[in-house]
């Protein structure tokens, strides 16, 4: 086999065939001579006779060579193909012969591939796909930061217009605001997601309508023609792809709007809007009085030569200028600019990448498991492999054979996996609690499928390569002579290493899952100031025809009274928003005691007296509102966090809070528990509660209803009946339990925790199968040894100890290795850990316990089997 080169050997050319042919002919001679010698011939006589019968050895060999070469010439390319087809046939035969083995490998890989492809389609759909805006890299989200508190807020409308007029670092600055609207067309009223925009919004994004035109420059002022642009999705779903859509009239919140443009299918923006509707700013919105109302999120396009940092500096210069004209307006604020991509995708990125990593570990475990099964099977074929190798089949050829088999298995598993991924992707998207960007357009697409094919091939190669590690052509003779024991030892050593690795990976995921579950429990047991059990919430929006504020107030009062009369309802109240959904209306309140102290980002809520009981917000000191107290009573209830901030001495009773914009102020009559308005992971917020009707009530209010039942939504239809009885045209929407509101604030934590637990469980299951297969294999191989031991009087317990020792070694080393890796890598989970560290003894105890249970499960059957070995049968076998 000298000098053939690995490529030549791989392709079945060159010296290999000559070697084989010579061996074949030589076999004939040797075999015959041996037999004659066995019959008593002298070796010389035997050789002479055999050679005479055979004829010209060299001529025969040369003739065979010639035939061989012709075949190679004919089939050089076809031969590769033939080899592949033959491997595929072998694999198909193997799958029929050993369905259990093939099914296990395929199922294992299909689970790993399916989960990975599903996760990747989410990753790709949400994060990796380019954003559908022209030169998306030059777009920035422009905002303002209040340096003292780190809080942030957008521009007010007048400030936005001033900045837009003055800036040179941006070629365009556009405002937007996500809003929910009532859509009336021919059919019944329907809720829709709209994006209020400035007239230049699409221009700044660099998006042109696929049909129709962009907005007029003055489209965002009151008095201009009411127009809107519709997205491709809404055009399809709500207007059935009406070819005459441009020019059609649609009523948004009762106001007729003309559709002037249709957006391209690729369009997407924050909030996944269905319509873009220009603002209708009136004089009040544009006036200097409105400078304090920070309500307009903005995006800008960087001018050439500017970075987000230098643009932010320039913008801060402009806002400082505004501050000089309007003292107190800008004091302490700086402008910020971050790449829009980061601002839009950043929130979800951490979790998605983390879960992608986790699912990658699951796939790795699946690969290790499949490789392991192939190893065990390879053992059974050791002799076949050795014989082929002895005959000159190079390592390359044998490797190709192994790989062909594993790739064939992976392809079948991949097909199953992709089908599985289609289902899993939908489940994943359903589970996602937070704002997953572009969720509506995520799915299996050509790129994801291409990636899946690559993944399948890589998986097949990885799985197939591991068993070839122990192909050692130099040891073939040992195998042939010694019945393959040496190789088997090496094999099971490699197998043990694989299983230890597998256990370690599973431990890594299980400890991650344990940390996230404990964090989740910590988060949900945080003192939230509210009682999420047994309560529900919904919103009601009055049609625009209700223009009179007193009538709106009466409507809501009557609705509350009507719901309160329902037998199942314990308490009911209204507010602008539910607790845990803060940031809707905030203000700054100075301390009446100390002019140096003020509380910023104070949540403002106007509530009916029943609100506190319905939400489960307890009174700490003083009193709540009387039933008769309404706006104008001159009283407020404040949260404990606000009381601590503006009344540092703790003396609050009877004091007044006096905001800049009101000279009389309000008397503080009670202090209630604080609520973490942005979810339990965030700070408790200062809040001030006015009696309902303190200002004109808006058209949309949020109801909170407590029934005390396990299923507070049971009263849903009765509640709807009460509202419909008062105003049939007022939609009741966003109805859900308080617990669902809580889960929404937990966003992707729910998602990450659920998936981590699922991935951890899957990895654990695979690891248990892995440990099981090694133990079962060990017991099988050592049946004779066990038999001898039992025959010599070893007890069944002793045999059990042997299995237990092996189990403990595998699981123990895996546990230690996995545990160390988990501790070292726990920082990737940092953002999701809450009130716990990776070294928490409870977590370590949990992981050890779970691992021990897994190991016990894996060793149960093999141990029983070992105990039942019949010494007589075992010893006769050899």
């Amino acid at each position: 086999m000298s000098g053939g080169g690995w490529l030549g050997r791989l392709l079945g050319l060159g010296h290999r065939t000559r070697d084989e042919n010579e061996r074949e002919l030589r076999f004939h001679l040797d075999e015959r001579i041996d037999r004659l010698v066995g019959e008593g011939w002298t070796r010389a006589d035997a050789e002479r006779d055999v050679h005479r019968r055979f004829g010209d050895f060299d001529a025969a060999l040369a003739e065979c060579e010639r035939i061989e070469r012709r075949r190679v010439r004919q089939g050089r390319v076809v031969g590769m193909f033939d080899e592949t087809v033959r491997s595929a046939r072998t694999t198909a035969r193997m799958m029929r012969r050993t369905p259990g083995y093939a099914a296990t490998v395929i199922l294992t890989l299909a689970l790993g591939i399916g989960a990975t492809v599903a996760m990747f389609s989410v990753l790709h759909g949400a994060l990796l796909r380019p954003l559908p805006w022209a030169d998306a890299d030059r777009l920035v989200r422009v905002n303002n930061r209040f340096e003292a508190s780190g809080g942030s807020g957008p521009f007010s409308i007048p400030n936005y217009l001033d900045v837009r007029a003055a800036t040179t670092s941006l070629t365009g600055l556009a405002g937007y605001s996500v809003r929910s609207v009532t859509l009336t067309d021919d059919g019944p009223a329907d809720r829709a997601r709209a994006l209020g925009v400035t007239a230049n919004f699409l221009q700044v994004l660099g998006v042109e309508p696929a049909r129709g035109r962009d907005f007029d420059p003055d489209a965002d002022r009151q008095g201009s023609e009411r127009t809107l642009v519709i997205t491709h999705g809404a055009w399809q779903s709500r207007f059935a792809g009406d070819p005459e859509i441009v020019g059609r009239e649609v009523r948004i919140d009762g106001v007729p709007h003309q559709v002037i443009g249709l957006l391209p299918e690729s369009f997407w923006f924050v909030g996944d809007p269905q319509f873009l509707v220009p603002f209708a700013w009136d004089e009040g919105a544009l006036s200097d009085d409105n400078r304090g109302s920070r309500s307009l999120p903005t995006i800008g396009r960087l001018a050439p030569g500017f970075t987000p940092e230098t643009a932010a500096e320039e913008l801060t210069g402009i806002t400082d200028g505004i501050g000089e004209r309007f003292p107190s307006n800008q004091e302490g604020w700086v402008a910020t600019a971050v790449p829009l991509k980061e601002a839009v995708l950043g929130g979800a990125a951490g979790s998605v990448w983390l879960l992608m990593g986790a699912v990658g570990v699951v796939l790795l475990v699946a690969c290790v498991n499949a490789a392991n099964l192939m190893l065990v099977r390879g053992e059974q074929r050791t002799r076949e492999t050795a014989v082929r190798a002895a005959l000159g089949a190079g390592r390359g050829t044998l490797t190709i054979q192994h790989l062909a088999e594993s790739v064939a298995l992976a392809v079948v598993a991949g097909a199953l996996g992709v089908a599985l991924a289609e289902i899993l992707t939908r489940i994943l998207l359903g589970l996602w609690g937070g704002d997953l960007p572009r969720a509506s357009t995520i799915g299996l697409n050509p790129l994801v499928l291409t990636a899946a094919v690559g993944l399948v091939l890589a998986t097949g190669l990885l799985v197939g390569l591991v068993p070839t590690l122990r192909l050692d052509v130099h040891r073939i003779h040992d195998v042939l002579r010694g019945g393959g024991r040496g190789s088997a030892e090496r094999g099971s050593r490699l197998q043990r290493m694989l299983v230890v690795g597998e256990v370690a990976l599973a431990v890594l995921l299980v400890s991650g899952a344990a940390l996230l579950v404990q964090s989740f429990r910590n988060v949900t047991s945080v003192e939230m100031g509210i009682d999420p059990d047994g309560a529900m919430t919904f919103m009601v929006q009055l049609p625009d025809s209700w223009t009179s504020a007193p009538e709106r107030q009466r409507f809501f009062e009557e609705a509350v009274a009507g719901i309160q009369r329902l037998p199942a309802v314990a308490s009911v109240g209204i507010s602008e928003r539910t607790p845990l959904q803060g940031g809707y209306n905030i203000t700054t309140l100075p301390s009446p005691d100390d002019p140096e102290i003020e509380a910023s980002f104070v949540e403002v809520r106007r509530v009916t007296p029943g609100f506190f009981d319905a939400a489960g917000i307890d009174l700490i000191r003083g009193r709540l509102f009387e039933d008769t107290e309404r706006g104008g009573a001159g009283v407020v209830v404040i949260s404990q966090r606000l009381a601590e901030t503006i009344f540092p001495d703790g003396e609050w009773l009877g004091k007044r809070i006096l905001p800049e914009w009101n000279e009389v102020g309000w008397e503080v009559v009670g202090v209630v528990e604080s609520v973490p308005e942005f979810g339990p992971e965030r700070d408790l917020r200062p809040a001030v509660y006015w009696p309902f009707g303190e200002n004109d009530p808006p058209a949309t209010m949020t109801f909170v209803v407590r029934t005390g039942d396990d299923d507070p939504l049971a009263v849903a239809s009765e509640v709807r009946g009460v509202v419909a009885g008062l105003e049939a045209a007022a939609p009741v929407f966003a109805m859900r339990t308080f617990n669902d509101v809580l889960l929404e604030t937990l966003g992707d934590r729910v998602f990450a925790t659920t998936l981590f637990v699922a991935f951890g469980a899957l990895a654990l299951l695979l690891a248990v199968v892995g440990v099981f297969s090694v133990l079962a294999h060990m017991v099988e191989q050592r049946t004779r040894e066990i038999g001898i031991r039992l025959a010599l009087g070893a007890s069944a317990a002793g045999v059990q100890r042997m299995v237990a020792r092996e189990t403990a070694a595998l699981a123990g080393i895996g546990l230690v290795v996995g545990g160390c890796v988990a501790l070292l890598s726990s920082s990737v989970l940092e953002g999701l850990l809450f009130g716990i560290t990776a070294t928490d003894p409870r977590i370590i105890a949990t992981v050890v316990l779970v691992s021990a249970l897994g190991a016990a499960t894996a060793s149960w059957l093999p141990a029983r089997r070992a105990m039942r070995v019949d010494p007589m049968v075992a010893m006769r076998e050899e």
Binding site: N21, E24, D56, A59, E63, Q74, E384, V387, L391
Partner: protein, 118 residues
């Protein structure tokens, strides 16, 4: 017992090999022994000639080969009949019978089997 020179049966060697393999897979030596046994040494075939014939049959797709271990422990190349080989054998036997029948009649022989040497 007349010895037939092997040259004249060269064309029939393929037929003999296929027939030998019809009962089951054999290595080259096995094929040689089969012919030897059936012909009672009447055919003086140089055994070396079997191998090029076997390899040609393999190229034609009539036989398949695998490597396995002989009872002595030596690795041996084992040949087996493919489906195509089986069909070829049936066809060849039919052709041989009609050919042998015609020749026998022409020679005025009644025992065609004798011409076959067994």
């Amino acid at each position: 017992m007349t010895r037939v020179p092997s040259g004249s049966i060269y064309g029939t060697l393929n037929l003999l090999i296929l027939q030998a393999l019809a009962d089951g897979p054999l290595h080259g030596l096995g094929v040689a022994e089969w012919i030897e046994r059936r012909s009672g040494d009447a055919l003086d075939i140089k055994e070396g000639a079997l191998y090029p014939a076997l390899h040609r049959l393999r190229n034609a797709g009539f036989v398949d080969d695998v490597w396995d271990e002989a009872p002595s422990g030596r690795p041996a190349r084992i040949y087996s009949l493919t489906e195509a080989g089986r069909a070829e054998l049936r066809g060849e036997i039919a052709r041989w019978k009609s050919h042998a029948g015609v020749v026998s009649r022409l020679l005025g022989l009644t025992d065609a089997a004798e011409a076959l040497g067994g």
